[in-house]
Assembly symmetry: C2
Homo-oligomer: 339 residues x 2
């Protein structure tokens, strides 16, 4: 679209293209008079440098990509994303970078990654061996894995198993035997063979270990919400209820689900925590505000985003120093949905 080129400005200003380029990029190397003149002409002509040309030359677009495991529209239904983006964004703000959200276009993430003009990527919810990640190797673009297994690539994870274990233990210690476990499906997991450790399965492992320790039967498969969102939790709870389940507690693998459960319980007149204890995971900002305030397992979401972005930008300009694997702690946060 950009019609006015550097050459036209140069011609009209009676200087060389170089001078124009310098005017914008290293004005100090030019005589102030020239700079002024070029600037005036540029303004008059309405010149704007073409970002693509610039990027082609420098192989820098000034943007970092965030690869989410599902459609953008679904991803942001999970309240986890807002604080995570805040964390990533704080680094972008600092370094004058844009933040590009890329989703798996129609299963063909390949195309999406290939097309996206980002200098590096934060990959959410997939390990470095996941097929979705391979286009990144090909593009030879740095990336950091968040919430996924990685040995070679830098990664940021949290103590999912431990956190989940603690949450379950708290509930079991109070004598519950009929606990509804609610997890969610990572759309990316479907693409990959069995032992893929997405966070839902990690958390589930933690729950299972606690069940075993307390001698409570794990029973059938956990309830799986269609979407990791408030609606997803609400609907899944509704379904459980229709199936005749009347658990005395619900263990949710994400706060979003727990919020849905809270809403569903309220609609049915089930009192929380008296009749039903509810536990989440994440400690999103909304957890402190919910009705009742949600007992949950905190992970430092914003910090996670910050660190991931930091690791990425280090890889971006430092080249490759030490590909670090960071594991952030979790913490049990009792509020009002447990007794």
């Amino acid at each position: 679209m950009s019609r006015v080129t550097i050459a036209e400005v140069a011609r009209k200003a009676g200087v060389s293209p170089t001078a124009v380029s310098f005017t914008f990029n290293r004005p100090s190397e030019l005589s102030p008079a020239t700079v002024r003149r070029v600037l005036a002409v540029a303004e008059e002509l309405g010149y704007a440098p073409n970002p693509h040309a610039k990027a082609l030359h420098s192989s820098r677009a000034g943007a970092i990509g965030m690869l989410v495991p599902e459609d953008i529209s679904d991803a942001f239904a999970n309240p986890f994303y807002a604080p995570f983006v805040r964390g990533v964004g704080s680094i972008c703000d600092e370094l004058d970078l844009s933040l590009m959200v890329v989703s798996p276009h129609e299963g063909s993430l390949e195309k999406g990654i290939t097309k996206a003009p980002a200098d590096g990527f934060i990959v959410l919810g997939a390990g470095e061996k996941h097929p979705d990640v391979s286009p990144l190797y090909r593009r030879r673009v740095p990336f950091v894995i968040v919430d996924g297994d990685a040995e070679k690539a830098p990664s940021v994870n949290v103590e999912d198993e431990k956190g989940a274990h603690e949450a379950a233990s708290r509930l079991l210690a109070r004598g519950h035997t009929d606990i509804l476990v609610m997890t969610f499906l990572n759309p990316r997991s479907q693409l990959v063979e069995a032992p893929f450790h997405d966070i839902a399965s990690r958390r589930q492992s933690g729950y299972m270990r606690a069940f075993e320790e307390h001698g409570v039967a794990w029973g059938e498969a956990p309830a799986e919400a269609k979407q990791c969102s408030i609606e997803g939790g609400d609907e899944r709870m509704k379904a459980a209820w229709s199936d005749g389940h009347r658990p005395t507690a619900v263990l949710c693998a994400a706060d979003a689900l727990a919020f849905g459960v809270l809403l569903a319980a309220e609609k049915r007149g089930v009192r929380v925590p008296e009749d039903l204890e509810v536990v989440g995971f994440d400690d999103v900002p909304e957890a402190a505000l919910s009705r009742p305030a949600l007992s949950t397992v905190r992970q430092p979401i914003r910090e996670k985003g910050r660190i991931a972005a930091r690791l990425l930008t280090e890889a971006l300009d430092g080249g490759g120093s030490s590909p670090r694997s960071i594991v952030l702690p979790t913490e049990w946060v009792p509020r009002r949905t447990t007794l």
Copy 2:
């Protein structure tokens, strides 16, 4: 970073660069055997097309930009953004576009816009005449204005004044005379001379009109939160309290602020709504879940995002049909923070 170029693939496959290009873009014009061979070599060499080169040539990056009025990190502290992004994202998902969040780098939004390889922009919280927007004209990139004044450019707005007027009227009708009005500062407003109608001022106008109609003195300037976030509202409420204010109701120009007020009230043992009625604006998803459920003015946030993105993508490929100005309705949603 991308080391392997189309030329290398061509050489190694014993064909011309053209053939390689065609293999990826118009395979039908090549003999199947050639395509297969090229593909094999490309795979072997780990070839990936360079998005910048592609974009330079086609002047299409496959990304739409979202220009936010403040640092990314601050913007996403406002729960308004998640549903808005969901709306915009739904169109991106449909059209295989990425979503690029661009913030005003150090006041020099100019640089940010200039650099961002996006095909078009959704501009939040600035009118078409705002200085921050002018780089977009220069780049000759289509954009749509959201929550800002526009005559020439397509725009999406909501009935801010009307919605605010209704909210205030509900409160005033119940006889309140000491209402704390809480608004927030749009960082962009600072850059621009007086009659800039950001949404905070529009909403404020609605409040003022209602005050007049009810013969209640407007009093001094409204309380202005530093940030449009839960913390911002909490702190501002705290400050008002320390100043000795004891209003019987709070009118918040955004739900985020109202949530903060709720938290602040709770900490002080002020009962809502009995001792203090609270009203928000936006009806973000959290409003239904808050403690107590928030009475507010609904604007169709997700729809707003969808429409903005739709308008933009239309401008992107249709060229310029009818630059439409859309105004979405608001609706009073009484819940539990009002009597």
